[in-house]
């Protein structure tokens, strides 16, 4: 699954072209769903770096997403609407938080790690809830304007905003892809495969995990930035464990360790949440069942399993 994959310009380009053309065909509602898929896809990809590539199941990834979003919202509340400033701070503040929290949570591993991240995530959630003067408490912060890039096009227009997200999405894909296939990225995969062996081979595995944790936090923050621009508001709910659980679900359904699989996972969840839940209030049960089935029988996720089948079909075993 993690073979060397180097050049793929044609198909990647076609996919991107499809994403580029789609807005012209979609209804406004469809476009807003697609924008959301890109944002959550980015969020899920960043978690996949931790879950799929580093082997760390983090239960507070929403923390970084939410902190990125809150950063932009708080800046907007101070009247600072410069897009680039918001972008830089919306990424760097989650990164700083990851630098700090990483020191604490990475002292443990496996289920301990999951539990401790959950605890710290809830602590940040409580902070956002309680620190009313800054965060607006449970009411959240609303009325965050779309970014002004100083371009002759308004980001209030759904298509323009979509293209903005698409550009950053594609850029983030590229960086993550490069990162994973870099020497460091391979070393991070090595940590997932066997931490003890990596240490015996002279790799600072703690440092590699820390790096991965920080990078993942930064990209989650980026997703949060676009999330808050898209919705125009943020509330502590986005920092809650439910959000972290949801993005874990996206990664698992799509396939951990496939990088783009989680984007498909994000798409499936968003469609489920928005379309199925319009028809039945029992959709949490369906989500639970899907989750359980995925963990038990489709552990490689939709994309991961498809890739495996494909490989089998080629007789390349």
């Amino acid at each position: 699954m993690h073979r060397m994959l180097t050049k793929y310009p044609i198909w990647g380009g076609l996919l991107l072209l499809a994403l580029f053309i789609l807005p012209l065909l979609l209804s406004p509602y469809g476009l807003s769903l697609l924008t959301q898929v890109l944002i959550f896809g980015l969020f899920a990809m960043s978690l996949d770096l931790l879950m799929g590539y580093t082997g760390l199941v983090s239960f507070n990834h929403a923390t970084y997403f939410g902190v990125g979003a809150y950063t932009v919202a708080i800046l907007a509340g101070l009247g600072l609407n410069n897009f680039w400033l918001s972008l830089v701070l919306g990424i760097s503040i989650p990164v700083l938080l990851a630098l700090l929290l990483g020191l604490l949570v990475l002292r443990s591993s496996g289920p301990y790690f999951l539990m401790i991240t959950l605890a710290f995530g809830q602590m940040i959630f409580a902070l956002a809830w309680r620190w009313r003067t800054i965060t607006g408490g449970d009411d959240g912060l609303a009325g965050i304007p779309r970014p002004d890039l100083g371009l002759p096009m308004s980001m209030w227009k759904a298509q323009n905003f979509y293209y903005l997200v698409l550009v950053f999405f594609a850029f983030a894909c590229l960086i993550l892809w490069k990162f994973i296939h870099s020497r460091l990225g391979k070393a991070i995969v090595g940590v997932r495969e066997s931490e003890t062996r990596m240490q015996a081979l002279g790799h600072n595995t703690w440092g590699l995990k820390y790096l991965s944790y920080i990078v993942a936090g930064g990209f989650a923050g980026l997703a949060g930035v676009f999330y808050v621009y898209f919705n125009g508001f943020i509330s502590p709910q986005e920092l809650n464990w439910t959000m972290s659980g949801q993005v874990i679900l996206m990664v698992i359904i799509g396939g951990a360790g496939t990088l783009f699989g989680p984007v498909v996972g994000a798409g499936m969840i968003i469609i489920l949440q928005n379309l199925i839940s319009s028809h039945t209030e029992r959709w949490p049960i369906s989500m639970g069942i899907i989750f359980i089935l995925c963990v038990m029988y489709l552990r490689d996720g939709v994309v991961g399993s498809a890739l495996k089948l494909r490989k089998k079909g080629r007789g390349n075993l």
Binding site: R3, G190, Q199, L201, G202
Partner: protein, 232 residues
């Protein structure tokens, strides 16, 4: 300078003393076998030297550097490499990626490709390691340690669970290693031990029972009683 020196190394697990007061020196270029019955503390000894386990007391020197408190990766960077009793590989990665991870990026003496070519493995370089047979994986276990260009190599039962043909492959590999590399080996196969080692240390209940040249070991009554006797 000694390749490895331990001073009064002691390790307890709960109330159980696994290593007691182990002092040992290994000369550069030496081949040293560590033998002893199951539970004698051999693997714990390796784990303590490579840094996976911190000792309760005592000190460890590798090529004169005190490493007692260093994390495993720092010791590895001093030229210490090891294999594991149970294969510990990056099974989902290709052989080449495994070797890549073992070779320090800049100071490697050769490219991964040359390395694999040398050992006759290049044609399998793109195959994920999990698709190899057990015997092949056992060889890769050794290859990974060799790819680190080690100065001190710890081999933990390299032939465990292998057929005699495969055992021969491994012994050939280690017999031909350069004398610049100091090798410590834990091994149950006495033929391998007496064929390969210069000196032998016998551990029993976490203590050094005996240490000497291999001929001395063969003739020592206590060793026969505790270890060889039970094997024969």
């Amino acid at each position: 300078m000694k390749a490895l020196e331990t001073k009064s190394l002691t390790k307890h697990f709960g109330g159980l003393a696994v290593l007691q007061d182990i002092s040992m020196t290994v000369e550069v270029g030496e081949r040293r076998a560590i033998i002893g019955p199951n539970g004698a503390g051999k693997t714990t000894f390796f784990n303590t030297i490579s840094g996976v386990i911190k000792p309760n007391a005592g000190e460890i020197f590798v090529f004169g550097d005190k490493v007692t408190q260093l994390p495993p990766f720092r010791r590895a960077r001093l030229g210490l490499a090891r294999t594991f009793q149970q294969n510990n590989l990056f099974v989902n990665l290709s052989l080449l990626d495994n070797i890549n991870l073992a070779m320090p990026p800049n100071q490697a003496k050769m490219t991964p490709r040359d390395f694999l070519d040398n050992w006759g493995w290049w044609d399998k370089s793109t195959i994920p390691v999990k698709e190899f047979s057990y015997g092949e994986q056992r060889q890769v276990e050794l290859l990974l340690a060799l790819a680190q260009s080690p100065r001190l190599l710890l081999l933990d039962e390299p032939t465990a669970g292998m057929s005699s043909v495969e055992t021969n492959k491994i012994t050939t590999m280690i017999r031909n290693l350069s004398r610049e590399i100091t090798v410590l080996i834990i091994e149950h196969d006495m033929d391998v031990v007496f064929d390969f080692a210069d000196r032998i240390t016998v551990l029993n209940y976490g203590r050094v029972l005996f240490e000497g040249a291999k001929d001395e070991v063969r003739s020592d009554e206590r060793v026969k009683e505790v270890y060889l006797g039970s094997v024969d």
